[in-house]
């Protein structure tokens, strides 16, 4: 690889450049900076250790101007490499200007490194230093680079370096290259250059406009993604409610606590499996565990308490609120009031890059999970015997009973099912929120809003409602701030129910008046 670079840049010239630049290092700050830039452009293999030494204060200078290089192995003279005594030699001092030059020079030397990570970092450094000296090494590096991400950064750095050139033709090349990049830094750089090159102002304005247009589109896509992500969180939290409240008409204020129990189930599964071979699969395994725990609590709640209050929604509301309080306090006493840590598995960490967009991996997974759970609920209601019985009981309890359906059992199962879904939502929330006893309280009002907005009893409404509210929240956030956006959405919903009191996807006919 080194051979390739030596073929591109004539070896003899490189030798000359290296030795020619050396005396400058013994001079004043201005001379040092100049020498550093020259060394950086030399692409000479000996320049890198020298400049690193300068950066770390290991380059010494004798009174007579001889340079000494201090390494772990000992002190040696530059450029001959003869061993020498440090004696009264002083370290070559650097100021900010030299440091800036160093960063660029080191960068342009390190872009030849065999380590891709170092190359990428070096390319970024060169971008920041912005010196016309770097054009040649960057072009050389670009010619051999194969990794797309590094190529992109190199091109950006090259364009930036070209802008620093005194030659307008070269600058124009840089401007045209930057115009194709969707990057905030490129825009800032162009605007900076505009002040220095007034005769290129028209071209620069054109390039900036292009970049801004694309940045705007990207930002819109990103906002939309964030909205979808928030929407899928709301969807997960509201789906269980869509079953218990929407289908059964039971208003369960302890729903948020079911979500909380699901999150704690995730924590318990993680703790139980830690150290075993199953530890990496703790999160997928927590999904059924959370479902079962929340479903069991839901079944007990329905059989033990709620069924005595059917037909009295306000009492149910108060009673379940009390149950929620008790559950919260019980969890607080068992696990403590502080947050519990749930670790994200490796495949959920980091970011996914998708055509220039960077998306947080766990957010993407939550969107996927939300849709999966929605599919599961729809399938369970549509295609299973339990779903059929459930729909029958909702439509006409007494006729369903005469058909041999055990309505009490169906009630308990439906409520358990809704609670279980809330538990699964808890698994997802444990990845993005603090697992604490009052985890659920933050979601309960939003969930009800989703169900009411979407239309009680309609799963499609829940989906559309959740995503709409999520996106609306995120779209408004930059203008109004997170809190005000929430307030505006709440007020918006209140006004919306004026027009459509039964939500977007209202049930028609007699069932609606139940």
């Amino acid at each position: 690889m080194l051979l390739a670079i030596l073929l591109l840049v004539s070896p003899a010239r490189a030798q000359d450049a290296f030795t020619a630049a050396l005396p400058g290092l013994a001079g004043g700050f201005g001379q040092i900076a100049e020498a550093v830039e020259k060394l950086g452009a030399s692409a000479d293999p000996r320049a890198l250790p020298l400049l690193q030494a300068l950066q770390e204060g290991r380059l010494l200078k004798r009174e007579d101007g001889t340079l000494l290089l201090q390494t772990d192995a000992g002190t040696s003279e530059v450029p001959t490499g003869r061993p020498a005594e440090a004696g009264d030699a002083e370290a070559v001092r650097v100021n900010n200007r030299v440091r800036g030059a160093l960063r660029g020079a080191l960068g342009s030397l390190q872009i030849l490194s065999t380590n891709p990570e170092e190359r990428l970092k070096a390319a970024e450094d060169v971008f920041r230093s912005r010196s016309a000296q770097n054009i040649a090494p960057l072009e050389a590096a670009l010619a051999r680079e194969t990794i797309p991400a590094i190529r992109a950064q190199l091109e950006l750095s090259l364009a930036a370096s070209r802008l620093a050139s005194p030659d307008n033709a070269v600058r124009l090349q840089g401007i045209n290259a930057l115009a194709e990049v969707t990057d905030q830094n490129a825009r800032a750089l162009l605007l900076e250059t505009k002040a220095q090159a007034p005769d290129l102002a028209r071209q620069i304005d054109g390039a900036v406009a292009k970049i801004e247009g694309r940045l705007k589109v990207r930002q819109m896509v990103e906002t939309f993604f964030q909205g979808l992500s928030l929407g899928s969180v709301l969807l997960l939290a509201a789906l269980g409610l869509a079953v218990t409240f929407g289908v059964m008409g039971v208003i369960n204020m302890a729903h948020g606590e079911m979500v909380m129990l699901g999150a704690y189930a995730t924590y318990m599964v993680q703790e139980a499996l830690s150290g075993t071979a199953l530890a990496p699969f703790a999160l997928p395994l927590a999904i059924p565990a959370a479902f079962l725990l929340a479903a069991a609590v839901g079944a007990v709640l329905e059989r033990g308490l709620i069924r005595y209050l059917y037909g009295r929604p306000l009492e149910t509301l108060l009673m379940t609120f009390g149950v929620g309080m008790i559950l919260q306090q019980a969890v607080r006493l068992i696990f403590g009031a502080q947050n519990r840590e749930v670790v994200s598995p490796a495949w959920m960490q980091g970011t996914l890059t998708l055509g220039g967009l960077s998306l947080t991996a766990n957010r993407v997974w939550i969107i996927v999970f939300g849709l999966l759970v929605l599919g599961l609920v729809v399938a369970a209601i549509r295609y299973t015997r339990f779903g059929l019985e459930m729909r029958a009981v909702v439509q006409n309890r007494r006729i369903a009973a005469t058909m041999g359906i055990r309505t009490g059992r169906v009630d308990a199962l439906t409520f358990a099912f809704g609670s279980g879904i809330a538990g699964m939502a808890g698994v997802a929330l444990s990845q993005i929120d603090n697992v604490s006893p009052n985890l659920g309280t933050g979601y309960i009002i939003d969930s009800f809003m989703v169900v009411v907005f979407g239309g009680v009893g309609s799963l499609a409404g829940t989906l559309v409602g959740a995503l709409t509210l999520g996106v609306l929240n995120k779209v408004m956030e930059p203008y109004a701030g997170a809190v005000l956006a929430k307030v505006v959405v709440l007020v918006g919903i209140m006004l919306f129910i004026q027009r459509r009191p039964r939500g977007m996807f209202a049930l028609k006919g007699r069932a609606a008046e139940a």
Partner: protein, 363 residues
């Protein structure tokens, strides 16, 4: 729609009236007994005076909720918002009265505004230095909010749990809004460090006694108003709306107007309670808007016995007495007890404590 049985509000019977006036008399004695020397056996500590004063304002809030829920079937889970708004209006007055005695010594701006760099008083703070205006606003703002929300909700026939969720969202939204610093209401910290009211330093026994009696008078007045409403023809319509709203509407009553009237009166009473509450506890912050507070107030009414005005008052006093005792004796148990109250009252005591003693046989 909320209650299964239609309990018509009976005229307070003579014995009940005697018991009530007796209770008022006992309460009225509290600040007087506080003046006795500490050695006296009948001496009542400062703590009792301040806490009873607080409970009296809670009882007014409970009456307000009972009028809406117990009589008309409007279960508002946002009455804490009206209470807090009344409190904030009074708090603004108290803040203005601090004047140059604040930590920053600014002649007109309250401390938090100096701290946040307000150049001058925001327009909505003007006039709050005058007590009558502030007191009027403490009643007017909650009433106005109830009018708007109630109009929107009742007009489109949002009833039952939908209304409950809507009002809960309302108080939640207000809480979020008041937490913001740029609302000009002190953000997170709210208002505190009050100095005086109507020329009395708030820490003096005189001011405490005056506030106590003012609250007591307000409670008796609220009770009287609620009684007048409940025994009137309008009161019958209220109960009818609670039990069969559609039927009342088909009979030609404008249920929207009737409900709106009750809702606004109820909000004004809640605002009055808040306005009396703040100078006694010496602080108001956005936490008062939290949905939990509103629903806790609802449970006072449920415990005491909804649909009876005595019940609301009894509930407010008894639940808060329990809370004061339990939060010091066994703090971990209080939330279990409160949650348990929700469950027990709805399942076993639909008529509340008052129902236990009422000799009237149902049906």
């Amino acid at each position: 729609m909320s209650a299964t049985t239609a309990t018509l509000p009976a005229q307070p019977r003579v014995t009940l009236r005697l018991v009530l006036w007796g209770a008022v008399l006992v309460l009225a004695l509290i600040p007087l007994l506080n003046q006795l020397p500490e050695t006296s056996a009948l001496h009542v500590g400062d703590f009792i005076v301040s806490i009873t004063g607080k409970w009296i304002t809670y009882a007014i809030l409970a009456l307000a909720i009972d009028l809406a829920w117990g009589y008309t079937g409007i279960l508002s889970l946002g009455h804490g918002a009206f209470f807090a708004l009344g409190g904030y209006a009074m708090g603004m007055h108290l803040m203005r009265l601090i004047g140059p005695r604040g930590a920053y010594g600014h002649p007109t701006l309250p401390d938090f505004m100096v701290f946040l760099g307000y150049p001058e008083l925001p327009w909505y703070w003007l006039g709050f230095d005058m007590f009558p205006y502030a007191f009027f606003m403490a009643l007017f703002i909650p009433g106005l909010l109830a009018l708007i929300v109630g109009y929107l909700a009742f007009r489109s026939r949002i009833t039952g749990v939908y209304l409950s969720i809507l009002t809960q969202a309302l108080t939640y939204a207000l809480m979020l809004a008041f937490f913001r610093n740029d609302m000009g209401f002190g953000g997170n910290n709210g208002f505190t460090d009050f100095k005086e009211l109507l020329g009395m330093a708030l820490t003096t026994p005189l001011a405490r006694a005056v506030l106590f009696y003012a609250s007591l008078v307000a409670l008796v007045g609220s009770y009287w108003i609620c009684t007048r409403i409940s025994v009137s023809k309008l009161g019958r319509v209220l109960v009818a709306i609670r039990d069969a709203e559609s039927r009342v509407r088909f009979l030609g009553y404008s249920t929207t107007q009737v409900k709106l009237f009750v809702f606004v009166i109820s909000a004004v009473l809640a605002g009055l309670a808040g306005a009396l509450y703040v100078p006694q506890v010496g602080i108001i912050n956005p936490g008062e808007f939290s949905p939990g507070n509103s629903i806790e107030a609802v449970i006072w009414v449920a415990v005491g016995g909804r649909g009876t005005l005595v019940g609301a008052v009894v509930g407010a006093f008894s639940v808060n007495a329990l809370k004061t005792w339990l939060t010091t004796a066994a703090p971990d148990l209080w939330l279990f007890a409160l949650g348990g109250l929700f469950v027990a009252v709805t399942l076993f005591l639909p008529r509340g404590l008052v129902g236990l003693f009422s000799r009237k046989v149902e049906k």
